[in-house]
Structures are given as C-alpha cells and as structure tokens.
C-alpha cells in the first residue's frame, strides 16, 4: 500500500483547518476569502466550515486590514491576514514594517503582535510587472519580522501552524507555482518557529545549492540533472529567512567548496547575496574552490510578452549550468 500523498495547496488548507479547529483566537482576514479563485486550493470552503465571522472577506483595503489584524493580535487574537498577491500587499507596508515588526521593541517587550501576514507569490501567465513579485528579501531586512518561505508541502502546513502559534509577527510567503507539489503525508506537528532554520533536503559532496520556496524546487531538479553529470549536490531549503541562520550551510560549503544560491527575487541587496555573505563570513576563503554564484531574476520588472517571460524566470537547467561551470573543464571532481 502506498502512503497517501499531500499536495502543497491542500497542505496549507490542512494547516488552516487545524488552527481554526483548535484555537478559537485564530481568525483569517483578507481579500477573496469567500471566493475560490483568489487563493487556489489553499482555503477552499473555510468560510463554510468555520463561519464568515472567522473567515473575513474584506473591502479592498490592504493597509486597514493588515493594521486591524495587528491591533486584534495586540488584543489577544491570533489573526492570519491573507494577501492573494504580494504586489498589492505593498499598500500595507506601514502596518507590517512600522507597526507589527517594531511594536515589541518600541514598548519594551511588554506586548507582541502575534499576527501572520500571508503573502502569496502569484506570477507567470503573462501577468506582468505588478502581478509577479517575490519580495521576501525586503521583509527579511527588518528586525522583528520573522519571514517564512516553505517549500515542502509538510512545511507549508506545519510552518503555517508554527507561524500562527508564534508570539511574533510572521510574514509567511507561499508560491502558487508550488501548489501541485506532492509529498507523503505525515502527522501534523506543532513546531516552535524559533527552533526552525534551513533544512538539508539532499546530501551531496561537490556542491552546495541553496534555495527558498520555489527556488528550492529548482535546486532539487537541478541536483538531479547534475547527478547525471557526476556532480553530487547538497541542497538546502532556507525555510526561515529572518532571522537567518547560515551555520549549517557554511558547514556544507566547508565540505563542498562550492556554493550556488538560487533566489526568485533580484540580486542587488537580495536574499542570495545575504546567504553568500553569511557563508563567506564563516568559512576560510581557502576552502572555496570557485567563486560563489547566484541565480536570480534579471534586474528588470517581469515582462508580459511570452518569449520575454520565458527568458525572465530562472530554470533548473540554468541552475545546473551555472553550477557545472564552477567545476571548469580540467578540474577533476574530488
């Protein structure tokens, strides 16, 4: 008998059902929550199961809804705000960056807004520049804001639960391109988000590949392609981007001597550069057998035209090619 399979979108739904079923202080607020086409399979029928008073579809007001969630959290609730596209969430920057992230520090650690801000990366399909962004690097810059980007369906579920049960504000970013990913089901675990960091998904000897969210998927596919080229890759999924802990990744690079970081955002001041910087701060430069590389978006907004869009998003082949070049023509793989 084969194990039951869990898909990413349904895994998020399971997380919501678990939280709403067990924790009366959890409620969900955002746009499109009573409509199936906004949030894919990840929130189907929650309003019917738990009531429209706890699953609140809202006016077109990202800032007020996010701010209201912060205020509700300060009043003892554990709200989850849903932004079906991160691009629109930018209206809520004050509530996220000025209020939620700084609240604990500003008032001496006497209250903490335990709010989850779920931003969905929803791109491709010729949607263009304002329906495409992945802005986790911005948010990871902000002390006080935990940033979570799950890749595996299990993490999508269990880290949603951990984020909601965490006393700090958490930005939870999931990617529509991952919704059909599958893994074997496992029992739900209530994790302490403070204990969660990058996870090694695949052991290897010659190369360290690092991703987050969908970029981890690219790393995993690229690692398979590199196997065929006799290059053995170790793959890390960041999972929690802020606070970021690169110690395990640095230990991996100590062993492999080569690092490629894949990121679905832009290069400058981005997550890939941060990972490389933290690794370089930790390893002896002599262990590096090639300069660390990043695979990111071109420094341009997302285009709409089909061939331009196809050229815009990094692919697993591109990751594998960048990685392979680190080995050079003459170098023998150790």
């Amino acid at each position: 008998m084969t194990a039951a399979r869990l898909r990413y979108g349904e895994a998020i739904l399971e997380g919501f059902e678990y939280l709403l079923g067990r924790y009366p202080e959890v409620f969900v607020i955002g746009q499109g929550l009573w409509s199936p086409w906004y949030v894919g399979s990840s929130m189907t029928d929650l309003d019917k199961k738990f009531g429209k008073h706890r699953i609140i579809d809202t006016p077109v007001s990202e800032l007020a809804c996010t701010g209201a969630a912060v205020g509700a959290a300060l009043a003892g609730m554990r709200p989850i705000v849903v932004h079906p596209r991160i691009d629109f969430m930018l209206y809520a920057m004050d509530a996220i960056v000025n209020q939620a992230a700084k609240w604990s520090h500003m008032i001496g650690g006497q209250a903490h807004p335990a709010v989850v801000i779920r931003g969905i990366v929803n791109r491709g399909g010729e949607q263009g520049a304002q329906h495409s962004q992945s802005l986790h690097s911005w948010f990871s810059h902000i002390p006080g804001l935990r940033v979570v980007m799950p890749y595996t369906p299990t993490d999508a579920r269990d880290l949603l639960i951990a984020s909601t049960l965490c006393d700090d504000p958490v930005m939870y970013i999931d990617d529509r391109w991952l919704y059909s990913q599958e893994c074997d089901t496992s029992p739900i675990r209530e994790l302490d988000l403070r204990e969660i960091g990058p996870q090694c998904l695949r052991a290897g000897k010659h190369l360290t590949l690092v991703g987050s969210g969908y970029s981890t998927h690219l790393c995993m596919v690229a690692a398979g392609q590199l196997d065929a080229r006799q290059i053995s890759s170790e793959v890390f999924d960041l999972r929690v981007l802020n606070p970021l802990d690169c110690r395990d990744i640095a230990r991996s690079v100590d062993k492999t001597g080569r690092l490629v970081v894949v990121d679905g955002s832009w290069s400058n001041c981005g997550m890939a550069g941060e990972v490389i910087a933290q690794v370089c701060e930790r390893v002896d430069p002599r262990v590096l057998r090639a300069p660390p590389q990043r695979v990111t978006l071109p420094a341009a907004p997302a285009p709409t035209s089909r061939p331009l869009e196809a050229a815009y998003y990094p692919t697993a082949e591109q990751v594998a090619d960048v990685a392979e070049r680190l080995f050079g023509a003459v170098e023998t793989v150790a």
């Binding site: 409620f27 008073h53 706890r54 609140i56 809202t58 006016p59 007001s61 800032l63 007020a64 809804c65 996010t66 701010g67 209201a68 969630a69 912060v70 205020g71 509700a72 959290a73 300060l74 009043a75 003892g76 609730m77 709200p79 004050d94 509530a95 000025n98 209020q99 609240w103 604990s104 520090h105 500003m106 008032i107 001496g108 650690g109 006497q110 209250a111 903490h112 335990a114 002390p143 006080g144 935990r146 965490c166 006393d167 700090d168 403070r194 204990e195 969660i196 960091g197 929690v240 606070p243 802990d245």
Partner: protein
C-alpha cells in the same frame, strides 16, 4: 447637500465663557478639573525640561487640549483598547497612568511605561487600557479597529478607541479604517482632536472643509462635533457613541474642536510657523481654556474658589515634582535591552 463645517467653533473669539454644567455632579467635575490640571502641569514640566535640554528627544505637547482625553476617558474602562499618536501624554494620563513612569519613559529610563524603549512618542500602559501610541500619522487607526473587532470576536463588550488628529484624516489609512469599521460593525470610537494644524499647516490649506466629521458622514458612521475645550460636552458626546458601540451597534466618530497652545513639537509657541497662527489668535484661543472655563463654572455655583485652585496646584506639584526627581535618578535600560526585546522571549536561533 452642503459640506459639513464647524460653524462658530472655529472663531477663537467665542466660547470663552464658563462651560454649561447644570445637572452635573460638582464633586465629579472637581475630579475632572484635577485630571486636566494634572495633565497640564505634567506637560509644563516636560516643556521646561525639554527647553533646558534635559530631555533628549522630541516632546509633542497638548497644552490647551486636556479636556478631550479627560472627557473621553470618563466613558472608558480599563478593559477598553485605546491607541494614541505622537501627542498622547494626555491620553495615557487620563486613563489613570502614574506620572512617574511617564516621566521615566520620556527620560528613557528602565522604569518607564515602555521600559525606556519608546520615549514620549511610544507609550504603553495596557493594564489601564492604553495599548500604545506611535508617531506615524494614522499608524494606529487601523489597529484600534482591529482591537475593537477582536472584542466583538471575543464576545466582550470592550471598545477600541483611536485618537487621531485633523492631519491624520488626510491619510488613506483612515478612510480605509472608517469603511472597514463600519462594514465589520467593529466597536470603535474615533476621536479626532481637531486643533486645525498638522505639524505646521492650517487645515484651510489642506482640506476643502474644516470639519473632519464629513468623513464619518461619508462612511455612514454616527458622529458628533463638540467644543473640545468643554470637558462636559465632550464627555456627553463620547458617552453616547461609546455606549452605542459597546452595545454592538458599530463605530462612532467624535470630532473635538480644540487648539494647541504650543507648537507642533517642544516648548515653543511657534507663532512664526504656519499660516493663520498669530499672537492675537493664540491669545484668543488661550481664553477658550478648558481648565479655566470649568473652574469658573464651578466657582459660579460656589463649588470652587481661587484658594481651592491654589491648593490643588500645590497638591499636584507634590505629586509631580518628586515623580520627576525619582525618574531622573532611575536606571537606564541594560545594554542587552537593545536586542532582547526585538522578539518575544528572544528570537535568535541558538
């Protein structure tokens, strides 16, 4: 429909007479007078210390505006959820906060309301219902809506309260918040302290009407416009709106017309900053003094006197001066406070 306006409340030559107190309990009003005067003396202490350079950061003083917080707070409970802004000393004191931790906070001491991490612009006293103040204009307005919404979800009859100014209503956040509160039926009281000025600019240069309550009208939220320098009128209007929200009938909007005697920040009068702020105008507004008008009303019915007023000031000084001295001697936050309050119980993965 004509655009709402404030009528003769904008004329600083008017409303100088004692306030109307018929049917009011004199003893209660003496308490209100005491609270207003306490706020004023505390702020005057802060003004002096800022001028002397003892306070390092900005202090936004509300001298002349004391009746609003005192009148509104008379309708509140310590289970309500009140949010303020940059000018919030009166808001927290009117809820019953002690003077000493406020002073300690402004001085950045560990014993302060926010453990010395916030200063004048980030105050917190949740046990008394004050959930926080921040200086981003309109930053806490949606938070108050959420705190009110939370009360509804929790099945308790607490209300959210949002203090904001006439400048804040120009922020999109406020328009979104009014609409959201109305649509969700959140128990919230929006209190606009309309003192006619943003930091420096008169409302006449910023809005087509001086009445911010027109936004409540637009969002179908019950509202009242009151003389914000009349503590009784303010309390009565707030009472109706708060009771209505508490009973589950949705948000209310109180526009309290007032004037700040001092500039936007610190101790100066700022008569040279901004349009329509002159010595003559300030003199007139000072004659619409919420403290003096209540004192005069009580004196008229034999419930107050110059001697009692002098005694009250002595009593308040006896609270305020030692509180200041004590705060000045209090310890600073420990160095580890810089990092260990960013997350709940420390956040870095070890």
């Amino acid at each position: 429909m004509p655009v709402l306006d404030l009528g003769d409340l904008v004329d600083p030559a008017k409303y100088h007479e004692p306030i109307e107190i018929s049917g009011e309990d004199p003893q209660f009003l003496r308490g209100q007078l005491r609270e207003m005067l306490r706020i004023r003396l505390v702020e005057q202490q802060l003004a002096g210390a800022r001028k002397a350079g003892i306070i390092g950061g900005p202090v936004h003083l509300g001298v002349g505006q004391e009746a609003i917080a005192v009148g509104v707070s008379a309708c509140l409970r310590n289970t309500d959820r009140v949010f303020g802004a940059h000018r919030s000393h009166s808001h927290v004191l009117a809820l019953g906060s002690e003077v000493h931790p406020l002073f300690a906070e402004v001085l950045g001491r560990d014993t302060g309301l926010s453990r010395g991490m916030g200063g004048s612009m980030h105050l917190w006293d949740a046990p008394r219902g004050f959930y926080g103040s921040v200086p981003i204009v309109a930053g806490t307005v949606p938070l108050a809506v959420g705190a009110g919404l939370a009360a509804k979800l929790q099945g308790v009859d607490a209300v959210g309260v949002s203090y904001l100014g006439d400048g804040a209503v120009e922020e999109g956040s406020v328009q979104e918040s009014l609409n959201l509160a109305r649509v969700l039926g959140a128990p919230v009281l929006f209190v606009v302290e309309n003192n006619f000025f943003s930091s420096h600019m008169h409302i006449g240069l910023r809005q087509p009407s001086n009445a911010t309550a027109r936004f409540a009208q637009a969002h179908d939220i019950p509202f009242a416009i009151v003389d914000g320098n009349d503590v009784v009128a303010t309390r009565k209007a707030a009472r109706q709106l708060v009771d209505r929200a508490r009973a589950g009938n949705g948000p209310g909007f109180l526009e309290a017309v007032t004037y700040r005697w001092l500039g936007h920040v610190d101790w100066r009068e700022d008569i040279d900053v901004g349009v329509n702020r002159s010595i003559d105008e300030l003199k007139n507004w000072r004659a619409r003094d919420p403290v003096a008008r209540l004192a005069a009303a009580l004196e008229r019915i034999g419930e107050w006197s110059a001697a009692r007023h002098a005694t009250l000031i002595e009593e308040l000084d006896a609270e305020i001066k030692p509180a200041w001295d004590r705060a000045m001697a209090d310890p600073w936050p420990k160095p580890e406070a810089l990092l260990d309050r960013v997350y709940a119980r420390g956040g870095q993965r070890q």
